[in-house]
């Protein structure tokens, strides 16, 4: 594998991991914010309104930056892996269209939810918030179908054999459904833990409890979805299954330990919150939950190396899909990576001031 192909693979991996960190935070917190905004409107609950707004700050700060990494994934794919991009768009047209439509609804709905808060009728605002929250789950509904095809090319295989477009066939891929359920439960769980950690900084016991109920509840659901996905990998993607259990076994073990720790600490924190206190471990639940997500994504994608696509017992190497139409200017690629790190520093500074130093007030400035 030459330098350009390796950098393309590694860069793609980095972009996917960073994107997944942000979307894991925002999909779950978005759902929680919509739920409590709605409760506030229905029950005239002032705390619920404040909590929803407080949790929503995570989205307003990080959703656009999360989107940047989605764009970076696309450019890495199209620029470094021309064949796989052309093949995916020609065969997985419907899943990609679903993902794009969901992105188109989701991102403006976030900005609209924040900036019209207090300016439009609460019932209409609640509806916009629900649209924002639910549209987010359409994005993995599209893109996870692409990931499932990379590990078990059912629809793509049909296309390559017959030349016919597979239409909705990606959704008949058994790996998709277990991956999607695993993903949805993970992001809701992470969102709950992020909300709990964030509100713990504000000493809001009720907020901590609300976040933990969601986080712990969906982590418990993962006890079923995680093994189910692992089992389905064994059935439909034996190469990936073997890599996860052998070469990447240590990382898999660390992930399982992290999940176990999250379960224990989450339970203790929930018990404390129910008793009206904030457990000291609460603030560590968000980083721990995000670590499990990162570990899971590295296992899911990195374990394919040096292949990009796995088909049963055969792996298709990255180089088969790589861009050889130009000699990729590596200095330019390093400059780009350096500037992307700069953007991460700037974003982290903004997020620190917004969420930790509370520069973004819950109540908008009216004067």
């Amino acid at each position: 594998m030459n330098d350009a192909v390796f950098i393309g693979f590694a860069g793609l991996g980095l972009a996917v991991v960073l994107h997944v960190i942000f979307v894991s935070m925002t999909l779950g917190t978005g759902l929680l914010a919509a739920l409590y905004r709605w409760k506030a409107y229905r029950e005239n609950d002032a705390w619920a309104e404040l909590f929803a707004r407080r949790v929503f700050k995570v989205l307003i700060v990080s959703e656009l930056f999360s989107g940047v990494w989605g764009t970076i994934i696309t450019v890495f794919l199209a620029g470094f892996f021309t064949a796989v991009t052309a093949l995916a768009t020609n065969t997985l047209f419907i899943p990609i269209a679903i993902a794009i439509a969901s992105i188109m609804i989701r991102i403006p709905a976030i900005a609209i939810s924040w900036y019209t808060w207090g300016k439009i009728n609460p019932s209409t605002h609640s509806l916009v918030m629900w649209i924002m929250a639910l549209s987010g789950f359409g994005v993995p509904f599209g893109f996870r179908a692409v990931f499932a095809e990379i590990n078990n090319p059912t629809a793509v295989g049909y296309y390559l054999q017959t030349g016919l477009n597979p239409g909705w066939m990606p959704y008949a891929n058994p790996l998709f459904w277990t991956l999607y359920l695993h993903t949805v439960a993970a992001v809701i769980s992470v969102g709950g833990f992020v909300a709990a950690s964030l509100t713990a900084l504000e000493n809001d016991v009720r907020g901590v409890k609300a976040g933990l109920m969601l986080g712990f509840g969906f982590l418990a659901a993962q006890l079923a979805f995680g093994p189910l996905y692992w089992y389905s990998l064994g059935q439909y993607s034996p190469l990936l299954f073997n890599a996860v259990n052998t070469t990447y076994g240590p990382l898999f073990g660390v992930k399982l330990v992290a999940v176990a720790a999250l379960l224990v600490l989450g339970y203790m924190a929930l018990k404390s919150a129910r008793a009206g206190a904030i457990h000291p471990a609460t603030k560590w639940l968000a980083p721990l939950a995000l670590f499990t997500v990162v570990a899971g994504e590295v296992l899911n994608d990195g374990s394919r190396y040096p292949n990009l696509v796995l088909a049963g017992d055969a792996g298709l190497p990255v180089a088969l899909f790589a861009n050889f139409y130009i000699e990729i200017p590596m200095p330019a690629v390093y400059v780009i990576l350096a500037f992307l790190i700069l953007s991460l520093v700037v974003f982290t500074t903004a997020a620190f001031y917004a969420l930790y130093r509370r520069f973004i007030a819950e109540v908008p400035e009216t004067e």
């Binding site: 768009t89 403006p108 330019a332 001031y353 520069f359």
Partner: protein, 532 residues
């Protein structure tokens, strides 16, 4: 070949909506910067409030710009997957560098929003300036890619081989036989290019097609387009901001809004002076040189004719003729009896091309007898069909740009005193009624004088290069998706519905953010323990 016609308007709709938000993304930072500057210098809170409100509008607008950008980007790779070959070659460097621009643009915008009002105005101005630098850099790079599609810099004489009336596009940085082979493979098989490039291993087998990946940056067409497009977008954003505050002044008569309109109108006029007579002129010259058919369409030149004014503007020489399609047809006929087979021989391609990795064998003998002159003339006929629309769009653009320029001048000299000119401006402005009405109407003319030229100008730029998507090289049908239901009524209805609903809803939301007061904050204030 699949018929791309149902997808062209869909793509255009996405691009136009993106254009709306990009204009505000480029113009609003200037307007916000002016307000912050005034606030810093005068301490007047009205300027700070104006900056804060425009920042809220910018945030919603940015989200819409980002998603329509995503739509355009995915539109390229999904609806026009043949473009993947361009992304892997000529567009690689601009799009890869665009990641720098996009990521930092968003990071600095978030930092600006988070810190506005919490740090001193000069610090906010510095963060805003950094955001704007990356936003404009993004515009530079995307315009470079679009310009390559208008004038494919780096292919040297390749386009000229089939179309003798076309110029050379810079140095020859391509492997000509490979580029011609890809094009002819699409023609001979009747398949879009994506069906060739999607096959695993094809890129490895074909090898290097473009020798200089940075070549798109050296294009003079790109250089002038960058200035032309970015300044146009800034002007639109500024015009909309000016009109928004002028509307508030019109509705309320409150002098604080007039105070905001004045510096915005001033900055608009200064930038307009750079755009209209200088940058637009160089843009016109680039079109004359690199897009001969587009220029003929703009000027309605079915036949070559003489017009000293147009010739002076276009060539700097009133005696030169406006070259029409008759001359292009003559150039096509200069091919004589040469055929595609002769071209294949001249380039050194075999009669049968085999791509083992793709399992593809292309028999060029099917198209070998086609005459080059016939192909050339066919494309000219296709181009000529666009003449009435392009001609009308171009002159509509010119007319409204003149209206915008006049309105800018009147508003400028109405606000800023200059002997003689201000008296004239005031006399003209009075024709529109009292001060509230005259400021509002002039501001509306600024909007019309920038938006309509931009809409018509983009139409001329994009449709004027037809029948090619990449001028002189590739047709839309060679780049379009082969997925059959992409043109089905169901998919098209779904796509139009999502695009229209999101964009119309988004624009309405921007209007609400800009105009509505906070009316429903009691519960939130109660929750936060804020006393009413």
């Amino acid at each position: 070949m699949p018929d791309p016609s149902p997808l062209l308007p869909l793509s255009a709709l996405g691009v136009y909506f993106h254009g709306v938000y990009i204009s505000l993304t480029f113009g609003l930072p200037v307007a916000i910067g002016v307000m912050l500057w005034k606030y810093w210098k005068t301490g007047d809170k009205d300027f700070y409030r104006a900056a804060r409100l425009m920042t809220a509008v910018l945030a919603v607008n940015f989200a819409l710009g980002a998603i329509t950008g995503t739509l355009v980007e995915f539109g390229l790779v999904q609806v026009w997957p043949g473009v993947n070959l361009a992304i892997a070659t000529f567009a690689f460097a601009p799009l890869a560098l665009e990641l720098i621009a996009f990521a930092n643009e968003i990071a600095f915008l978030i930092l600006f929003i988070v810190t506005l009002g919490r740090v001193r105005p000069p610090v906010s101005l510095a963060i805003l300036a950094l955001y704007a630098v990356f936003a404009y850099f993004s515009g530079v790079l995307i315009t470079a890619v679009n310009s390559w599609m208008q004038a494919p810099w780096g292919v040297g004489p390749v386009a000229q081989v089939l179309y003798p009336f076309m110029p050379e596009y810079g140095p020859n940085a391509v492997d000509v036989p490979k580029l011609v082979a890809v094009k002819l493979a699409a023609v001979a098989t009747g398949q879009p290019i994506s069906l060739i490039v999607e096959k695993p291993g094809v890129a490895q087998e074909v090898g290097v097609v473009l020798k200089d990946p940075m070549v798109a940056f050296y294009s003079p067409y790109a250089l002038v387009s960058i200035f032309h497009n970015i300044i146009a977008a800034i002007l639109i954003g500024l015009a909309v901001a000016t009109a928004g505050w002028a509307f508030r002044y019109f509705k309320t008569g409150d002098q604080k809004y007039l105070k905001i309109v004045k510096p915005l109108a001033g900055v608009f006029a200064v930038i307009f002076v750079i755009q209209a007579p200088i940058v637009a002129h160089f843009m016109g010259e680039a079109v004359v040189e690199y897009n001969p058919t587009k220029f003929a369409l703009m000027e309605g030149a079915e036949k070559t004719y003489y017009n000293p004014i147009i010739a002076l503007v276009a060539y700097g020489d009133p005696n030169k003729p406006i070259v029409g399609f008759d001359q292009f047809e003559k150039a096509c006929l200069s091919h004589g009896d040469k055929t595609v087979g002769d071209l294949i021989k001249a380039v050194g391609l075999p009669n049968t091309l085999t791509l083992q990795s793709a399992g593809l064998t292309v028999d060029f003998s099917k198209i070998a007898s086609v005459k080059l002159a016939d192909l050339c003339l066919q494309d000219l006929q296709k181009a000529k069909a666009y003449m009435p629309m392009i001609h009308a769009a171009y002159y509509t653009k010119v007319a409204f740009a003149i209206i915008g320029g006049l309105a800018a001048a009147v508003l400028f000299f109405y606000f800023y005193r200059a002997p003689g000119l201000s008296a004239l401006a005031t006399a003209i402005a009075r024709l529109f009624g009292d001060e509230r009405r005259r400021v509002f109407i002039l501001a509306i003319l600024l909007v019309l004088g920038t938006v309509i030229p931009a809409v018509a100008g983009w139409y001329v730029r994009e449709v004027g290069r037809k029948p090619w998507t990449v001028y002189g090289l590739l047709y839309p049908s060679e780049l379009v998706t082969p997925v059959p239901y992409s043109t089905s009524p169901g998919f098209l209805a779904f796509a139009y519905l999502v695009i229209l609903a999101v964009n119309i809803g988004g624009l309405f939301a921007m209007y609400l953010v800009a105009t509505r007061e906070y009316k429903f904050l009691e519960l939130l204030k109660k929750g936060a323990g804020v006393r009413p």
